[in-house]
Symmetry: C2
Subunit: 444 residues, 2 copies
């Protein structure tokens, strides 16, 4: 069979959804093309460890070409898909080049979302989706400690040592825990101008409890574990303003408080990636309120049986609720799409997709986690051990597994974190600020 | 003895010179302050491995605070020293803050130097001095291969797959060898649109042989080893122009040739860092033609017995020639300065500094190196084994040694290089270029 008569499958996005689709098609009689803006697959669940200096970017990323090297039916293209034409069966790249498809799998995930205040807040409160985001957070956190070492005014120093994390989901909880660990266990002894125990980490969540995707007893366990790392958890509190040197939060009673800080991290909202809007426009597919495309039982778009949408970009309801934006869902959907295509080749109709929830995990510092596995709830050290096992096991390449194990083992024994480099040229906004007097936290 | 009566020693720069000074003063009755723009010590001799995807930045950098944590007489400040006042005994940081000293050690090293064409060539031909330089080179090299995968015009593809390295010193030779290794051993099998064996790596050197700091037989051995990795070595050739899509070189007969390429790497000239000019102005010290400060036998500036200059920033003649800008010199000078200060405390005069050359090494790819050790010359695998031993042994922290050994072992066995990430947002210039037709290499 010649190349041209093979089914051309184009996968856009090399995250969990796209990569698992490609890998599941390794032996298929198809010409597979995986297109991603980046040349690597990123293991996003460990990104918070890069942001807090525990791992290096290279530890949690694998070059896509390396991963798919032996899969001879697959080619990898680096480029940004900006448009598609379903009538002609082509996707268009930013530079105008076109790639033809018979079947298209869109898996470009989600980005940060600042509830309509993207323009103002994005630069002030970095989120955590990309390697660059993680390196930005790492730089800003470490620079705040460096500035505190040189600061003589106690109130400015207090503001430099105050870190506000917005959003009590897994990202916010994991960032807060890792920062608490950094301040409590790694930094002591390294500074002469202040005691790292002065560090204040404030985790702000609008709803009544942390980790609302978990059962309430695990939310409580997470809050306890965070408190043990010195993290102040403030639930039922909304962020109403972010500025270069403070945030303003409002509690349920309507009381606003000004918290002086130079470092605000964003773990609150996500929105479907912008390619989703283009796909909706070109196919007439419906989107939910965060821009995800509503897919049918085969994960394809209504009226377009050859266009699949999976992962964080897809809205698929199961048992009356949309599936969560987690790696497990994307992986299972990727494998499911490969199976739909296989069944199709044999003239069989697809079965409806069904997500098998293998459990949900969130880690808090170096010793604790929460795990919700079927009817079993774990917290503390047992949950942490499950978390370590699962995360090392799912790293894509053996290379990374080995390095991450080495690094974690070393960090664990020595309490050091060797990846604490301040890199990149962009300075934080407060370095350009006049040294204004900084009042303490105060109600408004 | 109270803090204020201790000798205040300020060290500017956390490279080999500065860090070795600080470490050698670990038990001295002094208040030591180490100031660096960056928060880490960089193991520069392995930077070319970051530039070619073999190691991650975190593998070859150690946070200075971590390294000096247990040294209670030492504090680390992150900041850029821009000026000094020898009369008052203070250095001034960029933000205006001042740090007072009794003794000052300046060890800020050297930067790239484009022979008067800095403004035009710097953006076109990145050098290799910082982590950001290495990541820039890595991005540009990998993006060129990515663009070649999508390029259909054979001449443009050939230009994308042509890499020109300017300068046949250790940096140029090591970069060329690592690139040859990447193209020959790592990339094959990963691309569908071209054969990585088409890659052309051209190493241009103005003098008659490579590695002029080595004896001629080792220059020959290096050229042979490079040829084995497919590197074209062109000696006696000067670069007369660099543009976005070509370089122009001129040979000794005056013949100019246009080489189409989108990737030019700079390993040719270095110049003393700019703080050297300020120090010269403020102290009246003499500079050599590349801006290095001429120091006396105790490595201090004439007329300023309490201002020492060491490492790449210093010009110190021994046996009629200035010492080379290598890590060994800086390390020995750092330890020597600590000894001068110790002798001074006991009222003893300093001995003149004398560099003990323990040998010079340059590595070429994965199996070969050249080593000039006293009267012994090694090349090929034996030199490579010496190189591996020396470089792992000198990595500052045990943590890094372990990681680099793991990574090298893994790379060696699998021929993979896991750190091949394209990161950072800046796109190479040629991505904005119109797709002009690209003629082949041609005499002018």
């Amino acid at each position: 069979m010649s190349q041209t008569t093979k089914e051309r499958v184009v996968i856009v996005g090399g995250g969990f959804g796209g990569l698992y689709t490609a890998q599941a098609m390794g032996n298929a009689p198809a010409a597979v093309t995986l297109i991603d803006r980046r040349n690597f697959h990123l293991f996003q669940p460990l990104l918070y460890q890069v942001a807090t200096g525990g791992l290096s970017p290279e530890d949690i990323a694998s070059p896509l070409r390396g991963v798919l090297k032996r899969q001879k039916n697959t080619r990898v293209l680096t480029g940004r898909v900006t448009d598609l034409d379903p009538a002609r069966g082509v996707v268009r790249l930013e530079d105008g080049a076109e790639v033809g498809y018979d079947t298209l799998v869109v898996a470009t995930g989600a980005n940060h979302h600042y509830f309509g205040r993207d323009d103002e807040w994005q630069a002030l409160a970095p989120g955590l989706k990309t390697i660059e985001d993680a390196v930005t957070i790492r730089r800003r956190v470490l620079l705040a400690f460096e500035a505190a070492e040189r600061e003589t005014d106690p109130q400015r120093r207090r503001a430099l040592l105050t870190f506000v994390i917005v959003g009590g989901g897994p990202t916010g909880v994991e960032l807060a825990g890792a920062l608490g660990d950094l301040a409590r266990h790694t930094l002591p002894g390294e500074f002469r101008g202040f005691d790292p125990a002065e560090t204040r980490i404030i985790l702000v969540e609008g709803l009544d409890r942390l980790l609302t995707a978990f059962p309430p007893d695990l939310s409580k366990a997470a809050a306890r574990a965070l408190a043990g790392l010195g993290v102040q958890v403030r639930t039922g509190v909304l962020v109403t303003d972010i500025a270069e040197d403070h945030v303003i939060v409002r509690d349920k009673a309507g009381q606003s408080t000004r918290i002086p800080t130079y470092t605000v991290l964003w773990g609150a909202g996500v929105r479907a990636s912008s390619l989703g809007d283009v796909v909706a426009q070109r196919t007439g597919a419906e989107q939910d309120r965060v821009g995800r495309l509503i897919v049918g039982p085969a994960l394809s778009l209504p009226g377009h049986a050859n266009i699949f949408v999976i992962g964080d970009l897809a809205h698929y309801e199961q048992d009356g609720a949309p599936l969560p934006g987690v790696a497990q869902v994307a992986m299972q959907q990727g494998e499911f799409v490969a199976d739909v295509l296989r069944r199709r080749r044999f003239g069989k109709a697809p079965l409806p997709f069904r997500y098998k929830d293998k459990g949900t995990l969130a880690v808090i510092g170096r010793h604790a986690a929460v795990a919700d596995i079927g009817r079993l709830h774990f917290s503390g050290l047992p949950a942490w051990l499950i978390w370590v096992f699962v995360h090392i096991n799912f790293l894509i390449e053996f290379d990374n597994k080995l390095k991450v194990m080495t690094q974690w083992g070393w960090n664990y024994v020595t309490r050091r974190q060797g990846a604490r480099l301040i890199t990149g040229e962009t300075e934080p906004v407060w370095q350009q600020l006049p040294l204004a007097p900084q009042p303490p936290e105060s109600p408004l």
